[in-house]
């Protein structure tokens, strides 16, 4: 079948979005031809994968080295009780195939490291940062810059979320343009358990899928902004105009104007602090 054609059943499956101004047959074919990699199949990755798959993105990569745990299920809605113990990437892939058997799904059951990042990410058009730690966020940003791909980045904590597309177009900043110096490990609370409400990750992950679909179909206006979400504030959403690419950025700056060296970055994950032991608390109360 030619690249300009869709199978008949796809017209029925995607009809509700194909009649939208700005999508149409052309947009649907772009979605089918697109490949997107989601790094992290957790609270953000699950809803992002769900709506990317449902919309008909042709190829989805899933990178995650963790296995499903009971404590994930309050927000990671592609996993389930009977999948506890299996790799999250595998569990998410099964759910994605159920949502849309037409998607090609590739699982990468490994941690993203400076050794494998470029190899894994090079195969995809767009990268989604759905991770849960600062070092991987820097690694993903630096890799997206090297590969010249947009990075649709989500983050969520407690009742708050943030969303930004880094390395967007000619002039969009990278993560390092905004945050040149990684916070010292003590400052990020060594990933101590801060808590998170599932619906908050759902909203941010969903918005990541939406921004990705806008990028693929050409509906994005190309202006980088930072979206802040706070579930308990009014108004809950705030859109921020952000700086352009910094010529002095160590990662994406201009040749000869760069200051600093990203090769010095120690991406080794420093996560793994203790979690409040609710099981012990429970047995005390129960």
């Amino acid at each position: 079948m030619a690249a300009t054609q869709l199978p008949l059943s796809d017209y029925q499956r995607y009809g509700r979005q194909m009649i939208l101004d700005g999508i149409g047959l052309e947009g649907q074919l772009k979605l089918k031809a697109a490949s997107v990699v989601v790094v992290g199949a957790g609270g953000l990755g699950c809803p992002a994968l769900q709506y990317l798959a449902a919309a008909g993105v042709g190829k989805l990569g899933i990178v995650d080295h963790d296995v499903v745990e009971l404590s994930n299920l309050q927000r990671q809605i592609l996993h389930s009780d009977e999948r506890i113990g299996i790799p999250k990437a595998e569990s998410a892939a099964q759910s994605v195939k159920q949502i849309n058997p037409g998607c090609t799904v590739v699982t990468h059951i490994c941690a993203l490291t400076s050794q494998n990042a470029l190899d894994i990410l090079a195969d995809y058009d767009i990268i989604l940062d759905c991770t849960d730690n600062s070092p991987t966020r820097y690694l993903l940003s630096d890799s997206a810059v090297k590969l010249g791909k947009p990075l649709v980045s989500g983050a969520a904590q407690k009742f708050e979320g943030q969303l930004c597309i880094y390395n967007l177009g000619e002039n969009g900043p990278c993560y390092r343009c905004l945050f040149p110096k990684p916070p010292s490990p003590e400052m990020t609370g060594s990933c101590a358990e801060l808590g998170i409400l599932g619906a908050v990750t759902g909203i941010i992950g969903n918005l990541q899928a939406l921004e990705t679909i806008k990028l693929i179909t050409g509906l994005h206006d190309g202006k980088p902004t930072l979206l802040l979400f706070s579930a308990l504030s009014s108004p809950p959403f705030r859109t921020i105009k952000i700086r352009p690419r910094r010529p002095a950025c160590a990662a994406c700056g201009k040749e000869g104007e760069r200051i600093g060296n990203i090769a010095e970055t120690d991406y080794v994950a420093f996560c793994g602090g203790p979690r409040p032991d609710w099981l012990v608390l429970g047995s005390q109360e129960g």
Partner: protein, 115 residues
């Protein structure tokens, strides 16, 4: 003396340093000593219009309840904090040298890592 009314917001966990309160309304003088940090001593007679650097020290001295090192580092906000002036990244507005205007809304937000 003329003064400026400002709306201050903290987010991304920074509010924990400020009585766990996200929104604050404050009033600061329109003209301030040329050296923003009161701890520098020797204020002299020189004055400047109140700017964001002055505000940062003012917040430290008047609203911050704990762990100053999580807010200020080397004379600016610590790495990982973004300052937003009326919904615009402060880097587009002159960073610490932005001169405050009556009614401005300044947001200090910490970048989130979770997912």
């Amino acid at each position: 003396m003329a003064s400026l009314n400002l709306k201050i917001e903290f987010g991304g966990g920074l509010e924990l340093l400020f009585s766990n309160q996200r929104s604050h309304r404050i009033t600061v003088p329109a003209k301030v000593p040329a050296s923003s940090n009161p701890r520098d001593g020797d204020k002299g007679l020189e004055e400047k219009p109140a700017d964001v650097t002055y505000l940062m020290y003012w917040l430290r001295d008047n609203l911050l309840k704990e762990r100053e090192e999580l807010f200020i580092e080397n004379g600016t906000v610590r790495p990982g904090i973004l300052v937003l002036i009326n919904d615009t990244d402060w880097e587009l507005e002159g960073e610490g040298e932005y001169q405050l205007k009556d009614g401005d809304e300044i947001v200090f937000i910490s970048t989130l890592h979770g997912g």
